[in-house]
């Protein structure tokens, strides 16, 4: 037993168990957490705060494995195909796209979030929390972080960055080669903002996927991109595969207008010294996407009790506060400050403000919801066939 703690209670189903029982069952187990490890400050937070604290307080050993989006889906699909009852992973860090895919293959276990004591501090009436890519979350995943997509520029080089498609057209013509779209999740998120602008309002893509609307709006978007791509990076003959590559090109000055999640993600990049101190982030006039990222439990997790205790800690005021102040990562907590005990409320209110990122409250005035996942899937496919291959 001692050498295989995770399998000790793989048959235990916490669905109707009391929290005391769940905590008891979690004691001394190992929880495997699969997450994207591309953010050094966050890794530092996990390794130096989360892992030791879970061990101290709950006797839980947390093991981190790298993996995101498609890898998580591939893993769960593979295990499902192979009929593995006791899966490799107990917690996955996901957002709407992966949530949609995992739901499609019944890959998630739940609903479990209501059972977590700390869920009382979360406002499930907030549409940016209860709806993930237009899909009701239904307590199948617990919110962990929240961030708004923003564009990033160097204020020392561009005094007045473009804020809508028309201005962007003027900008690329004046500064050819300094803008591009990454052919990945981040790039598609920017395209969603563009699509919403063509749709005429921040809410134009809300609701279920609408094929006719998509066809009409995307045709205009491809036309716009094809018309202007000769002013993009490498004359639009190719596009970077990943957003991280763009960050490097922004740092070297090859690109001058980029973008990113988490309010543009400039805070930690400036502190790391990658971005110049004059880098700034801003929202598109018609809005940029604000979304949450979540923690889920795979259907075949061998340690659901341990996963629940760990997730409950991750959404505790203490862990969320630490995460917020840690190296300026992510300005936003998923907790509703007004629901917190006085002591924590005060702490959050007096938390150090980011030095470079835009004020998240102000930015959120130009926030739009994630459209239905089919928009993303179609944009991916069509961006390739309509723009890259043309």
């Amino acid at each position: 037993m001692a050498c295989k703690p995770t399998s000790s209670d793989s048959t235990f189903d916490p669905t109707d168990a009391s929290w005391e029982t769940i905590e008891e069952k979690a004691q001394g187990t190992t929880v495997n957490f699969m997450m994207w490890q591309g953010n050094p400050p966050l890794n530092d937070y996990i390794n130096n705060f989360l892992v030791p604290t879970l061990k101290d307080r709950y006797g839980i050993t947390m093991k981190i494995t790298g993996g995101q989006g498609p890898e998580i889906v591939q893993l769960v699909m593979g295990e499902k195909q192979a009929g593995i009852e006791n899966g490799q992973v107990d917690i996955v860090w996901i957002n709407g796209e992966t949530f949609f895919q995992l739901r499609k293959i019944d890959g998630l276990w739940g609903p479990f979030v209501k059972q977590l004591p700390n869920s009382q501090y979360i406002n499930f009436d907030n549409p940016f929390i209860n709806t993930d890519f237009q899909q009701p979350v239904n307590y199948m995943e617990a919110p962990w972080g929240m961030g708004q997509f923003a564009l990033v520029y160097d204020s020392a080089k561009i005094p007045d960055p473009p804020r809508n498609l028309k201005e962007l057209e003027t900008y690329v013509k004046a500064n050819p080669g300094t803008f591009t779209l990454s052919n990945d999740f981040s790039g598609m998120t920017l395209l969603k903002s563009f699509l919403a602008e063509i749709g005429g309002s921040p809410t134009s893509l809300d609701g279920d996927f609408d094929e006719a609307k998509y066809e009409r709006l995307s045709a205009q978007l491809w036309d716009y991109l094809n018309r202007n791509k000769k002013y993009f990076w490498k004359e639009g003959s190719t596009f970077p595969k990943e957003h991280t590559k763009m960050s490097q090109m922004f740092a070297t000055g090859e690109l001058q207008l980029v973008y990113g999640f988490s309010e543009g993600g400039i805070e930690d990049k400036i502190e790391e010294g990658l971005y110049p101190k004059t880098a700034r982030a801003y929202a598109w006039d018609n809005g940029t996407i604000l979304n949450s990222n979540y923690l889920g439990i795979p259907y075949n997790s061998g340690n659901k009790a341990g996963a629940m205790v760990a997730i409950n800690f991750l959404i505790s005021p203490e862990a969320q506060y630490k995460k917020q102040i840690h190296n300026g990562r992510e300005a936003r907590t998923v907790l509703e400050i007004n629901r917190l005990p006085a002591e924590w409320k005060e702490k959050f209110e007096n938390a150090p403000k980011p030095s470079y990122s835009p004020d998240s409250e102000k930015l959120a005035k130009k926030a739009i919801q994630e459209p239905a996942p089919e928009y993303m899937i179609r944009l991916y496919e069509d961006f390739r066939t309509e723009v890259i291959e043309k």
Binding site: Q74, M77, Q101, S237, T238, E254, I377
Partner: protein, 274 residues
């Protein structure tokens, strides 16, 4: 034999079933839909031709350079220092080699900055496009760096084992000119002994993954990059298309390998019979 064939065959059968929608949790039974859509899109054939061209150019240049080095610098290459420099790339994994190329040759890379500092460029962006570029120069360059040392090593060994030096001397004493010795004695002997390996390297490069992943374009892509992209895509219903490409690719390569080896056996047989 068994250790090699069983996993390979089972993976192939699995891919084959996946490509027809027989396995895979989002698939619901036999269909030729994925094959039709892959064959209709033409993307596979473009990727195939593109990969074959890149692999062929890389192998030709590598072999050419390696032959030249091996014949021209036979003595020098046996010295320690120089051989170390030449063989060093053999120890470098593909990913690292690709990053090297990227760091050195991208528009914001080492050479670009150097040229900018030296005043050759007005802007770092004017540096020629050799990474993620249209003609796959970055990929070819890296392939050559990785593959050429192996050929140098190979040719040096063949040179020694086949006693090309003695043969050359013999030809010289019989009145052959130096160019005749190279073209009619040394090269034919060395190529005859190594051509299967050269062909195998071509197949190896055809299926290379990391280097084109880092240095390639988004379209067309080399085969392995295309396959992985299809298999890992967001649209779960189209994952089978990746398996279709994998099946066609495996089929072509296996066929080529079988032809290659059966011919070789025949060729050796003829020589023995003579």
């Amino acid at each position: 034999m068994l250790i090699g064939v069983v996993p390979f065959a089972s993976a192939f059968i699995y891919s084959l079933l996946y490509s027809f929608g027989v396995v895979g949790i989002v698939n619901d039974g036999f269909t030729t839909r994925f094959w039709e859509s892959v064959l209709a899109s033409g993307e596979f054939f473009r990727a195939f031709v593109y990969s074959a061209a890149i692999a062929a150019v890389s192998v030709l240049i590598s072999v050419g350079l390696a032959l030249w080095l091996a014949l021209k610098f036979t003595q020098e290459l046996n010295r320690k220092m120089l051989s170390f420099v030449i063989y060093l790339p053999l120890a470098i994994p593909g990913v690292v080699a690709a990053f090297f190329t990227f760091q050195l040759f991208s528009k914001a890379g080492f050479f670009s900055r150097l040229s900018y500092k030296l005043g050759w460029l007005q802007q770092a962006r004017q540096f020629p496009d050799v990474v993620n570029d249209q003609f796959a120069i970055g990929i070819i360059l890296t392939f050559i760096t990785v593959v050429m040392p192996f050929f140098v090593l190979l040719f040096l060994n063949v040179y020694k084992n086949e006693r090309v030096e003695d043969l050359s001397r013999l030809a010289y004493s019989l009145g052959a000119k130096p160019s005749q010795i190279t073209w009619r004695v040394s090269l034919p002997v060395m190529l005859r002994k190594t051509w299967t390996l050269i062909a195998l390297y071509f197949i190896f490069l055809l299926g290379a993954y990391e280097i084109p992943l880092i240095l390639g374009q988004e379209s067309p892509q080399m085969l392995s990059v295309l396959i992985i992209r299809e298999i890992k895509q967001y649209d779960l219903e189209k994952i089978s298309e990746g398996y279709v490409v994998a099946v066609i690719y495996t089929f072509i390569v296996s066929l080529a390998a079988i032809l290659l080896f059966s011919k070789r056996r025949k060729a050796t047989k003829v020589i023995v019979d003579e």
